[in-house]
Amino acid sequence: MAKITFITQENETITVEGNSGSLMELAVNNNVRGIDGDCGGVCSCATCHVHLSPEHMETVGSPSEIENDMLELDDNVSEYSRLSCQIQLSEALDGLVLKVAN
């Protein structure tokens, strides 16, 4: 079980727990505003964009090439950007805080 916190653009803080699946699914299942997941999690839509805090970058890892390219679709991209559908939930992510990019 990992506890994940999403902070939306409206500054709503939503902390939820999950075991498996992607962070996008976790967000959609918990009504996190700004994470739409339109393509269902296949790295095709970039509507699941989040910003990590710098200290979490190492635990989560960096994006794959295609994810990196897709992130460029969004003007809001930074070095801490990830597409949340490409991050699988695991114990290791416990305590993660993510800012929804849109």
Partner: protein, 416 residues
Amino acid sequence: MENTTDKIAVVIGASHAGVNLAFNLRKEGWLGTILLFDADPALPYHRPPLSKTYLTSKNSEAQQPLKPMESYKKENIELYLGIWVKKIDRKAKQLSYGEGRAQNYDVLILATGARPFIPDIPRLETTKNVFPLRSLEDVQHIKKALDGSKQKKIVVIGGGYIGLETAASLKKMGAKVTVLEREERVLARVTSPELSAFFTDLHKKHGVKLRTNISVKSIRTVGETQQVLCSDENAYQADVIILGCGIQINIELAQAAGLTLKNGIKVDGICKTNDDSIFAIGDCTFHHNLHYNRYVRLESVQNAVDQAKIAAAAICGKEVVCNSIPWFWSDQYDTKLQMVGLNEGYDEALLRTELENENSFSIWYFNGKTLLAVDAVNNAKAYVIGTKCIKNRLSLDKAKLKNPQIQLKPATIILE
């Protein structure tokens, strides 16, 4: 219309368009009731995985709902699933469903999408193990039939995206797959000859038999298997037959209600029909695309989602303009296709293959200097740059674009 708590918004069709519309209505501040009707009894789900990951997954519970049940409750969106809407009475602003039930509306949204087109083939209706592929139930039937078949011989009728994705998925599952296509190439209706050629090769490499220029004449059942009799005088053996012959849009409700139709339900820039209280969104609409300045009918998640946003905002009284660039994706084997724009009317298809990886390429469609569309295969970079160039109507240096020695970057290929 005033946004008050006593108003009722009714949505017919709870799929990509209808569900997104309902949630967007709440986001835009709709105070009244929201009712979502769908004939499909399943909690609304993502359709694209049906021919891709859901088909190959062993777990038949693994379908992806668009939203979990709790979200509908939380946003106070009432689901009427497994219910067919029969008629719209525009004068009374009322629709009828079920056994003599009626429901009033203040605003009605048609998100009725499409159903599979069933070709006119003798004995098709009565043949066992013939399935279209559009709904969750269709895929569950296919999985079951496949489990029950010994030889796992599959014939897919139709080489469009759904037919080809299904072929790829079934191949992955160990089936022997033949695709029969009536046109001279697969994907003929939806893409250029260049891209069709690539997908033809891809499927052949994976051992799928592709037969083009072929039409199915009839089907004969011999014992447990079917024989698909074709115009080339061959009989293709099949335990399971998949129909991938395109779609037929669900416009009968709109038609009976006297709404304006033209290759779909005709809507204006905010997705309103010729009746001020009725909107239409998604696959069933014939709408104006601002960027390309023409009317189109699109079959894609992007269009369903974007129109849902526009219509919801408009219903809540916001000023909106829809200026979206169509995009689409398809996943087959390990190949990812991403398309952006509409290539209709192109006079040049420029191919760029990346040096490091011959499986990564892109086709750039131009009309003169204007970039119309990009098809990117295993090349998200081309897709993203293409999107930006189309959106902002940027001019490109074609010579540089074509040259794989020159890196694909906005700075190198965009003309000042």
